[in-house]
Symmetry: C2
Subunit: 582 residues, 2 copies
């Protein structure tokens, strides 16, 4: 037997016991006649003591141990004179009698410590060593706990986890598929699923009633900072439900997870906000409502003062940042630089300081009288000490830029505490999005999303204003997931395809197989998909999903640890009947 | 709200309640002034009553309902006069006041009944309708329950479920990989994992200590009856363990599953049998030990009677089938035909009837005296009424043929009850297998499997007789899973590669990346993988894994429901830089 206990287990109550431990040498310290070794495993660290006086040979061997050697020891548990209250085993140490080196170790390329000296690239290349570090390991343990609690909750709610296939069919709509050449059917290809959408709807047609799955999905997109080619969803679908039933169920799941995993009770119903309000007041369909600082539109309040920038602006919007009127010139310049960054895209920033002495001071004093400024401040509902920040220009772009500025101010003012969680349902999404390039409507969610009954009539007369039975769960400005009630009625589905500009033939060739299933008795149904990686990273207090994935890929889609993707044998390609085109 | 209750829920205690139900029309019967509709959902069937006298209009509408229409009704729960004790809701019925057709349905291509009139192909094409049938649905529910209980058990044992990547690297050893062309790294390919073997070993190097995962794996093999290109494993790995620790843990898991899901207590320790004994006594490394009927070797007991077939045979083996001495000529002819089938491959069958009157009667009376037969019967330890069946020929082929014959006799004699479960650990597998074609040894399990310490010395002198720390769990003759203790020592690993005939360069190019990880302090470790599909099918009492998979593929690797694999746009191929080679 390699161990009687693990390295996080022994306490003062175990003093006197003879124990066997195994683990990695975290570090060793020689202090005169003693050698202390910190022995580490997944569960903790236990201090080992070797004594030059009582067992010189053993102590000398201990002095030869390098970092990350794998050892096994036998010894007696003793109470420490010098207790360490930073670790749970800090009251005891092991007086070692036997030492057995199970495996030597080369010096690791970075320190296996909470704060490591290893850079990102190095840590990814040696991910198996990175995982030995507590923060990374804790993320994986957290991920396990969350997945387990999702399953436990869904099981109690009568959901059945069904595995849907990974080798499916490529569809031209949506993002780019990863494809898999078929050897048995040469010239043909499988595709990896971007989501199990079609299969979960078929499970509803099949009467499964309540389906869920924690499932890998795949998208061959150009990777941005927080995207991975393979990612994990909590995917769900329910039959005989309306939007309210789904929102209640997944609000319940979310509360369960926060309670069980973070010990946080999210009391009361989650607030809801219409998509229209979210855009109007936060410039985003995923507002961070941990703090207020809502947009106030000023388009008609700032015109007529011969300031052409605002006179000619399609849209002018302000926020009032609390307790910031003392911002220095330098800070204000930095904010201006911030909004002018290409990814934010504003042309400039106007500020009005609402000073604590009652005066206003602005960057546009040349055009606006103190009374003008006071009037704007009043419109903004600004309080003494506020800093009003104003952006102007094209409406959509300015809303988006102001959204970023608001978040930046929230961060600067410490209003975005990672230990506070503000969930929000964003509802009443538009059903359709107009695409200027192709001069047609696209489904904002997907073509099977149901319009709201009360907006049915608008489908022909004013499609842009049809609202969908679609909803997103947003927490702290992060879209955790979303879903919709699906169309289950043939005629409405056909009408939807008409609006989307599909010919009957196109609809049939792209979606015929699901539409055919709908002819055999489809129940009303709807569902949700949560981004599991993002959920875990939020629970872990991280900004990136990469560190909650055991073996992530880099921005070039590469796994630098196993060196994948890689070249393969021509023989393999020949068997598949494919070739590389230069 | 679409329903207040589901269709399996209402009882006599609910009589008088007004309820709303939704579901599918299972069938409708018009009896004079009444129409009865069986309403079905996932949870059960509830009888609806429409009355021509009290509500003619409604009843007429009910008479227009077709099978599989999706309807919603409101009505009062009433006690039935004519109770149906075959269904849980059989004591009540609903007197319907309101009927709402939620969706019409075309007549399904086969009956949605427990025993359907649909053939396999048709059921696969309309799998979403097949899933409405109770037996198929029950299999999926069972699968969910088993997966959940696996996770529950593993969680209590301190295992962490870690998701390993699906887009990995192709390796030339082992079965054929499915490959995925990379768009961002043209000319390069990912591969889909045949198992997470490498990653779970890396997780052990990373100190995760106890890992598990219920995970999809992929093999591009020519499909046999019970193979799928994508299949699911319960994959596990543990650190600081010996074979005994792993066997205990997974015996615990198996007992837990039988207890929780089948309500069967598998008491005591599972029996163990060496690979050598399994082959000697059952001609298979996965013996079905629900019944005895062990092989008895007769090679030296049947020679010298001028019967050239046996005189010249490398190997002669018999089994004694109990209470079968009355087998007719026809039955014996059928057994002979059975063993002569190409997939069994015997050239003939010899029998000796040990009659209840004490005499023996055989198919080789010409060569053997009654005393000879009695002597053989004694060697066989045959009892009065037994039928001794004898095969002869090449040893390995004859063992394999006799294994099939033994199983056939077990089936004919009713000794293979699907509700009796006989688990068995097969241990002490050979480390190596000699491949006559390539004149080299191959690893029987994989090249990282550890030999038994006591056999280390044989690695150079007699590799064929080195036993591995490898073990399989067999239940009722089905291999549920297997695993091994891995090599964690550099030198031993190198020695293993030498035996396998790898040059240093080959070892480095194929396994260098894992070997490199081993240099940084690999703990002793080992693991197991269970075939989850097979486990579920055994729990469901099925012979095939196909019916425990929601959307399986056929023997040509095709999903006939979604028509996949399929041809794709040339544009997609161009983006990937690949082409189809005619």
């Amino acid at each position: 037997m390699y161990r009687t206990h693990h390295c996080g287990e022994l306490r003062v109550s175990d003093v006197g016991k003879t124990v066997t431990l195994s683990g990695w040498v975290q570090k060793a310290r020689d202090l005169g006649g003693m050698t202390f070794v910190d022995l580490r495993d997944r569960y903790g660290i236990t201090q080992l003591v070797f004594n030059m006086e009582t067992n010189e040979g053993l102590c000398k061997r201990a002095r030869e141990l390098g970092r990350e050697f794998v050892i096994q020891i036998v010894g007696a548990v003793a109470e420490r004179s010098n207790k360490n209250n930073k670790i749970e085993t800090g009251d005891i140490e092991i007086l070692v009698d036997e030492l057995n080196v199970l495996n030597a170790a080369k010096l690791p390329p970075f320190t296996i410590e909470d704060d490591t000296d290893g850079g990102d690239e190095l840590r990814m290349k040696y991910r198996y060593l990175d995982i030995r570090r507590r923060p990374v390991r804790n993320n994986l343990v957290l991920r396990h706990k969350l997945a387990f609690e999702v399953r436990r909750y869904m099981d109690t709610q009568g959901f059945i986890e069904v595995e849907t296939p990974v080798l499916i069919k490529s569809t031209p709509e949506g993002a780019r598929d990863f494809i898999v050449p078929s050897r048995m059917n040469q010239g043909q290809f499988y595709a990896l699923p971007q989501s199990p959408q079609v299969f979960k709807q078929l499970l509803m047609v099949g009467g499964m009633d309540r389906y869920f799955q924690i499932v890998k999905c795949f998208r061959d997109e150009d990777l941005r900072a927080d995207r991975q080619p393979e990612f994990t969803q909590i995917d769900c679908e329910m039959s005989f439900v309306e939007q309210e039933d789904i929102i209640n169920t997944f609000e319940g799941l979310t509360k369960h997870l926060f309670k069980e995993v973070r010990k946080i009770e999210l009391g009361g119903d989650f607030p809801r906000m219409s998509y229209a309000d979210a855009i109007t007041y936060y410039g985003s369909d995923k507002p961070d409502i941990r703090f207020d600082m809502r947009f106030v539109e000023l388009t008609n309040d700032v015109k007529g003062n011969n300031f052409s920038v605002l006179d000619n602006a399609e849209y002018v919007v302000g926020i009032a940042a609390p307790e910031s009127s003392e911002y220095t010139r330098k800070q204000l310049d930095q904010l201006t630089e911030f909004v002018k960054k290409p990814q934010i895209g504003a042309t400039g920033l106007i500020y009005i300081k609402v000073n604590t002495d009652g005066t206003c001071k602005s960057s546009v004093d040349k055009y606006y009288t103190p009374d003008d400024l006071a009037r704007i401040a009043k419109k903004m509902n600004a309080k003494s000490g506020d800093l009003i920040l104003i952006l102007a220009g094209n409406k959509a772009k300015t809303q988006s830029a102001m959204c970023e500025l608001r978040l930046e101010m929230g961060s600067q003012l410490g209003l975005r505490d990672k230990n506070i969680f503000a969930p929000l349902w964003v509802v009443d999404f538009p059903l359709l999005e107009w695409d200027e390039d192709s001069k047609r409507f696209f489904a904002m969610h997907h073509p099977f999303t149901s319009p709201k009954i009360e907006d049915f009539e608008l489908l022909k007369s004013d499609p842009a204003n049809v609202r969908a039975n679609a909803y997103d769960l947003v927490i702290n400005g992060v879209e955790i997931g979303g879903g919709s009630i699906r169309i289950h009625n043939d005629e409405l589905q056909q009408q939807m395809f008409d609006v989307l500009g599909f010919t009957r033939e196109e609809a049939e060739s792209q979606f015929g197989f699901l539409m055919n299933a709908f002819k055999y008795g489809a129940p009303p149904h709807g569902g949700v998909a949560f981004g599991f990686d993002r959920l875990v990273s939020m629970f872990a207090g991280l900004d990136s999903i990469r560190d909650v994935i055991a073996f992530p890929k880099n921005n070039a889609g590469k796994d630098v640890m196993i060196d994948s993707p890689s070249f393969i044998d021509k023989k393999q390609l020949d068997e598949l009947g494919i070739g590389i085109v230069k």
